[in-house]
Symmetry: D2
């Protein structure tokens, strides 16, 4: 369970006190506020605050004095236009603040998204909790032989069990020694900033992370992608679910133009035009490398 | 008057519809929402949206599950500590969105603050209004002879009148020709993106501008400074007034540590230590350049 | 002519003094260094400094100890892979510093690219030159009736002549008054920071602008696009020519995947798949808006 | 030793091939290029490339056509002026690219400096080396009782030995199991992206890191500070040594205004003014909190 009863109580208290505001309110987001969406075995994503909604995107694009909305269909059309033409600044006018609990090896990928604000739980100041990501057996897979940085076939049961035994035992021992090093009974007690170096990358950390909608879409695009490591993908998918409830029109445009869309190279355009004209065009005639062709053919077929 | 009756009505409508929210509410900011604070002769600053308050800064610094507040005095102490030690990330957890109407030459200084989101009224798509910044006579001043990029003595009445005549006449003529060029009666009508090049830098533009509190403090620090050009300083001061109402504890810390604070160089520290020890230390013994000394002596005296 | 004989002499002097370096040298860039590429009537783009080359992109992607190059074809394949998969960070490892002279209305679009370093000629400190962008008659066009923010048909000769007369006369008069206002003979002389507000947006300014290759590609993609205003497009094209000489492999990948590439929405993918399967699919069956369809059909035909 | 003989040979090869360039050359940096400066037990900092020098800062500040240098003393004065008045953009005109090998817990602090470009060695694609930071016994210290996030007294010999035994044994065991998990003999072999989660935070990683001089000064200011964790401080000090050789005038200004400088709050200014006027002003009369006073008194004395 990611939350303690005390934490659940704090969240319930926060949700019991609506206050009046003159700001834009996004009903889909109010439903999410403060609640923890569980991710992996001990992690979560929680919306702590947000700014804006679909109409706020249009309001900024129109630099309007009032709400800036014309009609729902007018707004949807504008949002699709903005997304299609890479007019990213109106999407930057929405902002979200999340509280995320995540393994350190996931945090190290996540932090690479630089246009965001972050406050992480301090291992210099505080003691880290004894919580480690231990994958479910079916998440354990072998190194991929096609994609040199991904994973392929699931491990057999015996090998998986061996892996899990090591992960659990090493994490437990490392944490035991972490505790023993910082303990102050009968000894001085090592500084926390030093003792934490003994802890493995699957220990959980947590942070407040705040970003705008444009950068959030980019995060989701890259990290909810099938090429992303599964352990960050499940976080990106949880975030995507939140965004869908928050700004449904913008999310629909994002899905259509980015997630379900395809970027064609000039070479790929040429192949498709020839095929549409009735030609049979395969790898040999494409001018593409093997890798490019594999990705192209996965969508458009071998010939 | 910066706003039309229609715009005033739109704002009144927005302010008449409070809605419940579970988010943090900053009462000082609710009072500002949507209202135009007049700046210069036709400009304004309006708060369109905000996220967070003083407690949100502490909540992020503590990475807490609930509201994160301990006590008002505990929060103030933490905020002062964060400001003193340049821990900027918790301040980034507050965000504000402004609608600003401002002369183009002010906009060109403002936009240099890069960590912000901007949507500007488009002179390619829309027709700019006939509104120009014409300074009040007492704002007209001669080039400074001390500070090579500032202004010094106020102009005499006659010279000021001559300047104002030119500013007004040139602006009026430029706008007449702008209108004449884009008119489509009896001619094709020049594209707006071209015609606008005839308009002077004192014409007003407007934009939505969104940034976080850390970067906003930096903006205020540099732009509300006496060395800043007066025409951007009045905007920065209007923004500062808003921030004071929004996050009173953070603003008080900002005032104490930045606006009323002083950055001493190593050389200046040495001079002050010698003076505290009873020595008389003047320019000759300071090791400073003339410019440095002038700034130092303005605070600490010549000897 | 954009440069004075003195400036030409300074540039010649800089080009006459090669020095040994252990850094990576890009021959295509050495040929450009310091030379002004003329743009518009008085503007230019000059390369002032650069860091990296095609191999440096691969070196960073591989985090190598030595040069990091395997083979030219291996590097090209890696660069195409990185571009195709949006791995932008290796491209950020190349950097360029430009000196650009450009009209203010172009500068106002350019500055919107925030991930860059800028030092602009100061109109507070210095006196601006009497140089204005006056379009060639054939560059004068009417407001587009299709694209609401672009330009359409060229103006007729008579209307064009009228426009040019106004642009020239207004610029000349504005500058005369600027000079008269700042003059210190027989009067105090208005501060430069104020007098400049009388100058129109087609006056030239100049700046040093430094950015990395990833952000430069983004700049070129958006600003060398047919939808961009012609006056910034010619700058973007001049920059593109420089980049092609600097990092030929990266530029070729950029051209193929971005400039000649096409981003298909999910809806567009569906239409193409049905067409490839032999169906006739037009606007009615596409599910697209009129605007989307117009852009789609321009590439792929109406049915 | 941080480098293998092969790596040393690659570096020697790179240093043996000077080439002519027309760019600015910084002799102090040429001497550093490619060479590894050892940091901690297995880490290093290497300069891979650089752009600019002291004169380039002035050239950009003056937006000049030629080299932009007036005189060495004129340049130094300008650089000090820019530093004193927070004119940061000219410093951004210098850029440096480093190759750094560092423990993961140091990398996690370093990466928080967002205005930089990074390519890190990929633990998804590659196998991490068996190299761990094991502190020297004298670097082991207890949690500070004054500064809640730092370290205080050195550990006694017996306790230090116990800590080191755990750190070494746990790292060795974790790496043994990492190797055993990814091995493909007699089993499928776990994906690298999963196996790495077993490795502790003191394992070494490496990256290419590129930033501009303004942001580098900020990095050094915060990370070479006595409050920074020692393990990142030694990296920041190594970087500072490089910068001193690269841009001596800018570094001297940075030292004087930042590292040896002091930021006084308004309250501190008031206390010093009263003391200079002959008053005895202690904690009671200062209006400061205990923490503020402790820091103030450390520089200026208790009364």
């Amino acid at each position: 369970m990611p939350l303690t009863p005390e934490q659940d109580a704090e969240i319930a208290a926060l949700r019991s006190q609506p206050q009046p505001t003159l700001r834009v309110v996004a009903p889909g987001m109010e439903a999410h506020l403060y609640r923890a969406i569980p991710v992996l075995d001990h992690g979560f994503v929680r919306v702590v605050d947000y700014m804006g909604d679909d109409a706020a995107i249009c309001q900024a694009a129109r630099v309007s004095y009032g709400r800036g909305t014309k009609s729902v269909s007018g707004d949807e059309g504008l949002i699709r236009y903005l997304m299609r033409h890479q007019h990213s600044t109106p999407f930057e006018m929405c902002e979200v603040k999340l509280h995320v609990k995540l393994p350190i090896f996931v945090a190290r990928q996540w932090i690479r998204h630089r246009t965001a604000n972050v406050n992480e739980y301090s291992g210099r100041y505080s003691i880290l909790d004894r919580e480690f990501y231990i994958p479910e057996p079916e998440a354990l897979a072998a190194q991929s032989v096609v994609n040199h940085q991904g994973r392929g076939e699931a491990l057999g049961a015996e090998e998986a069990a061996r892996v899990l035994d090591w992960l659990k035992a090493d994490a437990a021992r490392a944490y035991d020694h972490y505790e023993a090093m910082i303990a102050t009974e009968g000894q001085q007690g090592l500084a926390r900033e030093l003792a934490r170096m003994n802890l493995p990358a699957n220990i959980y950390t947590q942070w407040y992370w705040k970003t705008d909608l444009h950068n959030l879409f980019h995060f989701i695009w890259l990290r909810a992608d099938p090429h992303a490591q599964r352990e960050i993908r499940v976080y990106a998918e949880a975030v995507a679910g939140v965004v869908r409830d928050w700004v449904p029109a913008a999310f629909a445009a994002f899905e259509d133009y980015r997630q379900q869309g395809v970027m064609l190279s000039g070479k790929a355009v040429a192949v498709l035009k020839r095929r549409l004209a009735g030609e049979t065009v395969g790898f040999e005639e494409s001018g593409m490398s093997k890798g490019e062709w594999r990705e192209f053919a996965a969508v458009w077929g071998e010939s």
